[in-house]
Structures are given as structure tokens and as C-alpha cells.
Subunit: 198 residues, 2 copies
């Protein structure tokens, strides 16, 4: 027997991350009771987004155009490229409003055991972008995890023949507002080693 529509809706809502049966139920009842219009709008946008959003042909960020707004923006400095793991990292860096270069989105990290080799994270395309634009700086902003570091090192060695290219990595240290008592030892010893003159 086919499930009734309400149960189908509750099942479908569980495709959202960290939404289980109880939350899905609450969402379904909320939408039916208070916001049918919003839900219909959501359905339409979801459908369109899933059909039309692809990857930028240059930087691999999500966009429904051939080029994402950042790559299409002539005012952004094409000589500086920031390499990030995911589109949400682009949004995070953009929200700081302190970077005016371009991006390159790996859509993951090097992880050969999971089948993520250099091809899968788009490194040949990154090399092409760097060479074609004659880039001056590559900021590798992968996570400060083992995989992120490995990816950063791989990119660094892949591009070592580019004489004019400065390859940098995000600064590591004590976060703003961080109390020393709560910072882990590794971060603390690193921030001590990399201390800066003021």
C-alpha cells in the first residue's frame, strides 16, 4: 500500500542533514499549518536549484551560469587565487570582505583511499588557471587537518616550477577571543614558534 502524502512528506524531509523523523514531523506540520506558500516556493526553488546549479567552469564553485559571479567579475584580482575545499569556504571568506582575489574550489581533499586523487579535486585545472593567468600568489586555504595539509603540500610541489608564483598558507595560531588556558598544546606551541613582532 502506498503511504499517504503526509508520511511521504515526512520521509522526504529526512533527506535534509541532521533532520530525523521527529524534526521532519515538526517541519511538515509547521509548513502545513503556517506556511504553505513558503513551502510551495521552497519546492519550486529546490527543483530549479537541483536542475540548474552546476560548477563554474573556471573555479568549480557552485553557480547556475558558465562562470560564477566572482570569476565573471573583472574587478577581482585574477593574479591571486585562493584554494579552498568547498563552496561554503568561499562564502566564509567572502563574508570577511577582506579578500579581493579569485577562488579555486577543490570540492574535497586528496584522499586516495576514498578515490579522491589529483584529478578528482581538479588539480590539472588549477594548474591551468595558474599558468594561463600568470598568477602571482596562491593562497592555500584548505583545513588545518591531516588531509588538508597533505593537499596543501601536494599543490605546493605540483606548482614548484612556477618561478613567479608565491604559495602561501593561512596563518595558524590563537583565534581572536581565545583564552590561552583553553587552546590545545599544538596550536599554542605553533603560535609561539610563529610569533610576530609588534
Amino acid at each position: 500500500m502506498q503511504k499517504n502524502l503526509l508520511d511521504q512528506l515526512i520521509d522526504s524531509l529526512q533527506c535534509l542533514p541532521s533532520v530525523g523523523k521527529k524534526s521532519a514531523q515538526r517541519m511538515a506540520y509547521h509548513l502545513l499549518e503556517h506556511n504553505r506558500q513558503g513551502a510551495t516556493q521552497l519546492a519550486e526553488t529546490l527543483d530549479k536549484a537541483m536542475s540548474y546549479i552546476g560548477n563554474c567552469q573556471v573555479c568549480r564553485d557552485y553557480t547556475e551560469q558558465d562562470l560564477c559571479p566572482i570569476c565573471a567579475n573583472e574587478k577581482r584580482d585574477a593574479k591571486t587565487v585562493c584554494v579552498v575545499e568547498s563552496p561554503s569556504d568561499v562564502a566564509a571568506i567572502e563574508s570577511t570582505a577582506s579578500y579581493s582575489g579569485r577562488y579555486f574550489v577543490l570540492m574535497g581533499n586528496l584522499s586516495p583511499l576514498d578515490g579522491f586523487g589529483p584529478e578528482e579535486i581538479g588539480l590539472p585545472q588549477l594548474a591551468k588557471v595558474v599558468i594561463e593567468n600568470d598568477c602571482e600568489e596562491l593562497i592555500i586555504a584548505t583545513s588545518a587537518t591531516v588531509e588538508g595539509e597533505a593537499t596543501a603540500h601536494f599543490i605546493k610541489s605540483m606548482l614548484q616550477e612556477q618561478q613567479n608564483l608565491k604559495v602561501s598558507r593561512l596563518a595558524q595560531g590563537v583565534p581572536i577571543g581565545g583564552e590561552l588556558g583553553y587552546i590545545d598544546q599544538n596550536t599554542l606551541s605553533l603560535s609561539l614558534a610563529n610569533r610576530q613582532k609588534i
Copy 2:
């Protein structure tokens, strides 16, 4: 300028209860990256659900049919009606598998200041159901709040001319697993007054 599709999606997702900008972003990226098929399915179900789910003509529960599965089920005892505030209460009671009567869903509580009078919560229809089915018991399972109690009293007095009708209310007392030290005074004094012989 029109927002891009990704931003539209992030905006639309915020119609879900307790989903703010940050969660909406996470959901959008998750769906785009890991579950486009699920999202398309969700879009379709949402759209259908919002268009077709209405209220049962008898009990006012959500259903896409004229009658909800419970009202349409001949095996459910039509002489016993449980009055609840919302469809989620029906689901909660159904999940106990210890009730075989029918339901009536108020879709709210009496709250004249908010414009919720007897008409809005369907009391004339409840009276009709009770009289037509010649009901024997009405279990009022509204919340144990001021509004819930007021609604229960109103229903009780509305139906006091039905000689054969027994009107009951959910038992109140110490919940299973409740430690006495953590139970509020009112509940405790009520459960003392209503103590039962064992």
C-alpha cells in the same frame, strides 16, 4: 538584481522551523553535493503535499482524501472520540498503539483574544459528530495548560445535555521515570489528591 539560485535556495530553506541562515546554508550545500536526487524528490513531495493535503471532513486531521484513514477505518470505535489540539497529537497517541477510538482535531485552542472562538476550533462540528454517532465517551486530550483546560471545560459544558456521554480527561500525575525531587509542586499535590488504590 535578482539573487542567484543558490542564495534563493538558502532563503527558501529558512521557511522551515528553527532553520536560520547558517543551517540553511549547510542544508543547501549538503543537498547540492550529496543528495540532488533526494532534494528533487523532496521538491515534488512538498509541492504535492501543499496542494493536496486538506482536512478530514469528519475529524479535521490532515489528509489528502475526504476522510482520513482513521475515520475511514470501520474497525475503529466510532462511539469513542478523543479530542486533541493538533494532528501531531494524533500521531503521538497513535504511536502508543493503546487507543482504538476515533479522533477530533481542534487545530488550536480556544483563545478569543487571538480570534480563536468555538467556530474556529470546530466545536459545532464536534457536537454534530458526537450526536450523529451517539458517542459514549469523549476523551478530552488538550494540553495541561491554561488554554487547554479552558477548552476542555468549554467542551464539557457544551455537551452537558448529552445524557449518555461520559466526558473524561487524560490522567495527570507523575510521569513514568519521574523522580519526585524534580516534579513541580502542583503536579505533585495533584497526583497526591488523585492517588489510586493498588
